[in-house]
Structures are given as structure tokens and as C-alpha cells.
């Protein structure tokens, strides 16, 4: 039971992890987050039409706006598993609830891993009592580690804020790596806070935070069947209930957004095979929508991503991507900057490619595309595309 030095845990949240050998033995792969008191809950889910069984379950549960626990497993996504998958997710909730002596419909279930295989319930089932009885014996770090798939490090962030004189803590963990793109919630992300806040305001705060973080990142343009963000707020900080359109609400939203942004950034840093964190900013587009289209098209272009990997300031590929993005653009008004260096001015080379190649050797790359057409803007985080992405994904199930 270890806890990273700089992570604060909101009051009343306890953790547990066990090994169920879901994909293979040798690591904790089943984890539990438990709130000592009933928590307000909100969630966001994948927009993929193919949704995993636990996603369908949680979408139903979250309508009540409250909950006590989240069970999560890695190694199997419980997606494309039909009626059996749903009955397995329900059984996991039931057995966990019975171990914790709470109501079944207060237990949320999340899964991540391989799609299309039945859940190995014969190995999960006997471990659920132990998972419940071990509550408090694991750290938040253990939970973050248990839900990893191809992630190379656990992703944990916390923030302390003051709400009308009371100390309030927010903590979050997530797993990412591949199959990440916007227009969805995100990968698995669990947010916990001891703030007292009404469930509907909690939902608005979450929506805003996700919009500016998990919906602004892309690794490979693929959208998962399992993406889920859940937030639990158990009111144990003792603050006066946060109401909408108050200063307290603003402070809470800002902290939640910043925390989600930090988690999103970690997901990109840990993108499958990634060697560089890349921020693509589009400025002065005709509209924000246009800026988004241009930024995401450049961020998802395999040719742009491989050039960045190869330290090649091939801005022509960026122009080509922006050109087919569907955004309103004019070649002759477009400027492109790579780590602060102007490589294209009004659509033409500035002759600084060699210098720009050197700047690309940095671990963090900023690409600014100034369309000089209006006031629309957007920022997207992505990573480079490397041989290791191919290796990881060619061998994922072996």
C-alpha cells in the first residue's frame, strides 16, 4: 500500500486490488474504488455505436446520479460479448455489492482490454469477495496500475482547492495508450472528490472539463468501445453545497478542468510507441469549428506524425492535411511555425527547414498553424507515430 508523495486523496475514498489473472497471471488486474458515504455521480461515455456491456450498464446506473463504488478490470473489455457480457457485468456488480454490503445499483463496472472474448468469470467470480474485504489495503496508485493495458506508467493527479473556507480535494486516475480520439468521453478515467455538489451541477462541471481535455487529444484516430469517465463527489469535505453560477462553482470547474487536462496530457505522453508530445494549435481560422477540423486532421495524419518522429520539418505535409481537412483555408494566407520558428509564410517556404529539423529534436513539439482568415482557434494534443506503435498493436493479443 504505497501512495505517490504528491497525491492527495479526498476524504472517504478507499481502494482495493486483487489478481484475477484475467489476461494472464502475474499482476493485479481487478480493482475497487469505494466511497464511505453515498456520492453524487456523473459520467460520460463513448459515442461508438458498439458499446461494451459495462458501458451500457453504467449509462443506465448514472441516471440515478448517485453511487458508492467502481469495480474495474483490465485484460478483457467485455465488449462484443452480447447478453452473456451484460449478465457478467451485472454479476460483478452484485458480488461486489454483497461483499461491501451496499446496493447492487450503487456499483459501477468498467472493463478494458481485448474486445470480443467472453469474460473469464470462473477466475473473476471467486476474487470479488476478497476484493471487497481488502478495501483500504491498496493505494490509489495500485488501482491506477491495475487498470493499465499498454500504458507504461500509472496516471494519477490531485488538486487541493478552498471552497468558502473549506479544503476540498479532487483526485483522478486514468488509463490511455491507444484507441484514443475525440468525439467521445475518453478512455477509462475515474475522478473522486470530497466536495459537496449537486449531481446535476457535477454533470455540467464534468462535461466542461472533458470538452477541454479528453476531447482534445488523439493518438491514432480510433474510437474505443469502452471509453468512460466517472466522477464521484461524496460531500465529506463539509463545504456548503456548490451551486451553479457561483464563485465556488467556477473554482471547482477550473480545478476539475485543469486536473483533466493534466491527465489527458499524460495519456498522450504515454501514447503507444510515442517519443514526443505534440501540441497542434490552429489560429485565426474562419470559425472555431474550422480550426478544430484543421487541427485534428493534421494531428491524425500519419504522414505528419511520422515526419515529426523523423525530425523532419516537412511542413508541406501539414499544408496538405489542412488542405483536405474540410476547413476553409487559403494557401496564400497560411503561416506555419514549428517550435516557434516560422517555416512557412503566406504558404511559402521561409528556407528554415534545416533549423526547424533541429528544433524538432525536442521531446515537446509545438506546431502553430495561422490561417489568417478570422478569429477561430483550437488546440489539440497528439504524439508522433513510430515503429513501436506498430509493434505494440501487431502483437497485442499474443
Amino acid at each position: 500500500m504505497s501512495k505517490p508523495d504528491n497525491i492527495n486523496i479526498p476524504r472517504g475514498f478507499l481502494f482495493s486490488t486483487v489478481e484475477a489473472a484475467i489476461k494472464k497471471p502475474g499482476r493485479k488486474d481487478l480493482a475497487l474504488i469505494f466511497s464511505e458515504k453515498d456520492a453524487a455521480m456523473a459520467g460520460m461515455f463513448t459515442k461508438n455505436k458498439v458499446k461494451a456491456a459495462p458501458v451500457l450498464l453504467d449509462m443506465r446506473l448514472v441516471k440515478s446520479g448517485k453511487g458508492r463504488a467502481i469495480v474495474v478490470n483490465s485484460g478483457n473489455a467485455n465488449a462484443c460479448t452480447g447478453k452473456q457480457g451484460m449478465s457478467d457485468a451485472l454479476e460483478i456488480a452484485e458480488l461486489t455489492a454483497s461483499g461491501l454490503k451496499i446496493k447492487t445499483n450503487s456499483v459501477f463496472v468498467c472493463s478494458t482490454g481485448v474486445i470480443g472474448n467472453p469474460m473469464p468469470m470462473e477466475r473473476i467470480r471467486p476474487k470479488l469477495a476478497e476484493l471487497a474485504s481488502n478495501i483500504g489495503k491498496s493505494s490509489i496508485n495500485d488501482v491506477a496500475a491495475a487498470m493499465m493495458t499498454t500504458d507504461t506508467f500509472p496516471k494519477i493527479v490531485s488538486r487541493r482547492i478552498r471552497i468558502a473556507g473549506k479544503a476540498v480535494t479532487i483526485a483522478g486516475i486514468c488509463k490511455g495508450a491507444g484507441m484514443i480520439r475525440p468525439d467521445m468521453a475518453t478512455m477509462l478515467c475515474f475522478l473522486m472528490t470530497d466536495a459537496c455538489i449537486d449531481k446535476s451541477f457535477l454533470g455540467s462541471a464534468l462535461k466542461e472539463a472533458v470538452k477541454n481535455s479528453f476531447n482534445r487529444i488523439t493518438v491514432d484516430g480510433d474510437m474505443s468501445t469502452n471509453d468512460t469517465v466517472l466522477i464521484m463527489a461524496n460531500a465529506m469535505a463539509g463545504n456548503e453545497e456548490i451551486k451553479k453560477d457561483t464563485r465556488a462553482f467556477k473554482v471547482f470547474c477550473a480545478a476539475l478542468s485543469a486536473l483533466c487536462y493534466e491527465l489527458a496530457r499524460m495519456i498522450i505522453q504515454d501514447g503507444e510507441g510515442a517519443t514526443k508530445l505534440v501540441e497542434i494549435e490552429v489560429r485565426n481560422a474562419a470559425t472555431d469549428k474550422d480550426a478544430e477540423k484543421a487541427a485534428f486532421t493534421a494531428a491524425n495524419s500519419p504522414l505528419v506524425k511520422t515526419a515529426i518522429y523523423g525530425n523532419d520539418a516537412n511542413w508541406g505535409r501539414i499544408m496538405a492535411a489542412v488542405g483536405y481537412s474540410g476547413a476553409n483555408i487559403k494557401e496564400e494566407t497560411t503561416d506555419i511555425f514549428i517550435n516557434g520558428l516560422k517555416v512557412a509564410a503566406r504558404g511559402l517556404s521561409t528556407g528554415k527547414d534545416k533549423e526547424a529539423n533541429d528544433r524538432l529534436k525536442a521531446k515537446e513539439v509545438s506546431i502553430v498553424i495561422d490561417l489568417n482568415l478570422g478569429r477561430g482557434k483550437a488546440k489539440v494534443l497528439t504524439c508522433d507515430l513510430t515503429e513501436d506503435y506498430i509493434k505494440i498493436n501487431a502483437e497485442y493479443r499474443t
Copy 2:
């Protein structure tokens, strides 16, 4: 001057190639196709908003519906080169026309290679007279080789048909490799025929042929700034002019479509780093549009493409891609077949993944996705995604 054994050249077409050391010395990189008589011409071009100078030039020229020559270079795309780029393209047309003693506006210009660098006119300019005077000294094979960039083999196809008792020949060459996706004409492709056909019917025939070939392939989802397909028909076969809605027109269209499909298939076979040719067929979608969306989304999914590379029958990734494609789909009605083997039935595993892994080891992979919802269908050709794609594109300009 060599010619592949099985390639027939339409009457009246002559070829020439020279070395202009455009990217680097050591290979022929400037080529000329010349028709002894005025030819009817039609063309299709990239829909990218960022268009190379020669594309803008050819789009203007093709309105006349006739031409005599095509000059093509590899090593530099003459894209994102502004006014200078256009004046360079025009100068290439002028010098070629003067060498051939034909009108400047009967010379089409095409370029492929790096985007954003000015054309090295100091090396191209002095070679254009030699290019014109050498006409007839090179083969169609030499031209196809001169326009290659990352292609590993020249792509040449020909067909012989009979039109009302006369032998008519169609030949085509193209270059492909990366930056290939539909919703555009294609890469560079030059089609030549000695058929006598009115220019407007020639345009319709070309449109139909491109729709079913070059617009049905995808390598990396990137769309180029230079894509061009041009067809020249010089009437030297002596056939009675082909009119629309005749049997002759049907025969001509069928041959042209088949020839373009063969070229498109070669592009995919030679996709950057590709080890496998993959056909993705969607059947029984609600509409043809839905079938297309689902097929292209699966074909462009990096996770699907890496799984195929790794001989991993990970049909869950196919389901996920189809799920976010925007097509109307139902998980519980979807069947998936890999090289004839049903791996998913009504959205669920058939337990045949291991057997399917073995079938994936073939060089040609067929994936059939049956949505069981309607009568819509679409077929798309693509390739797998490998470490070599990354290598080729990370090091393209070095």
C-alpha cells in the same frame, strides 16, 4: 529502350526520359508522353484545397478537351510554391512545346515529390530540349519508372479491345505508394488510347472508371496536393467515333474501368511498407453510403491495419471501427468473415480466432463485414500498416 513483354502501346504514342537530378542525381526523373496527332483529353484532379501549381495549370488546360503531350517529373511536387511555382510549370510547358514544335497550351505538366521546395529550374530548364529531341527513344516502362517516388516497381497495364471491327488499345501507367485516399482522383496516372472518342464522352468514361478504382483505395488516409489522372485519346485506331449509350461505349468503359482497377490494385500492392493486399467488403448495409463509410473506416483504422500485419484476427477492432464509422449498424446483426472464415456471428465470437490467425498469413486478405440490415454494399482495397511505413515516411526527405 525496353518494353515489358505483355504491354501493348496504342498507336501514335512516343516516350522520352532524361536525368535532371531534381532530388538527387543517378536516375531518370523527367519524362515525356507525346501523341503524334492531336488527342482528345480529359482529366480528374485532387480535391485538396492546397493544389500544386501543375494541377492548377492542367485543370485550366483540360477545359479545351485536347492536348498533345504530358511532361512529368518526380523529386519535387511543385506544391506550396506560389506564383514562382506556376511560372515554373508554365516555363516547363513552353520549353517542351518549343522542342516538340507544338502549341504551349497542348502540353500538360505533372509533378510529384517533396512539397514546399521551389523547383530546381536551373537543373530542369537545360534538360527540356534533350527531353523533346529524344522522343521515341524511351519506352512506356522508362516513363513509369521516372515518375516513381517511394514506389518499388513501375505500374503499367494495357488492354486490347475491338470496337466495330477495329483493334483499339488502351495503356496506363501510374505511381502511388503513400498519401493515398479516396474522394480525389488518384495519384499520378496517365492513360493513353488510340480510340476515336468525343472528348465529353471520354470524360464520362474516365469519371466512371476512377469511381470504381482509384476512389476505392486507401493507403494512409492522407490526400495529396498533386493527384492527377489524365487520359489522351488520339483516334489513330481508325475506329468509327465512339458515341455515348452505344455498345462501343460500353465496351470502351468496361475496358477502361478494368484497366484502372488493375492499376489501383498495383498501387495498394505497393503501398508504403505493405506486406499484404486487403480487400474490405461491406454487405447488406442500410445504404451504399453506409457500406462505404464502414468499409473506409475499417480500412483506415491503424488498429485494424496493424492487427492484419501481425496475423491477429482481432475482429473486435473491426467491430469498433464499424461502430464509430457513422454508418447505421447493429452489433447483434453483424457477421465478420476473414478469408472466408466466420469469426463473428451476430456480433459474437465464433471461437475461431486461432484458425483465422493462420488464414491471415496469406498475402491477400479478404474481410467481409455483413451488417444484415439492407442491401447496401461497398468494396475497398487497402494494405496493412507496418514498421516500414514509419521508416519510409520518417526518412522521406533525408
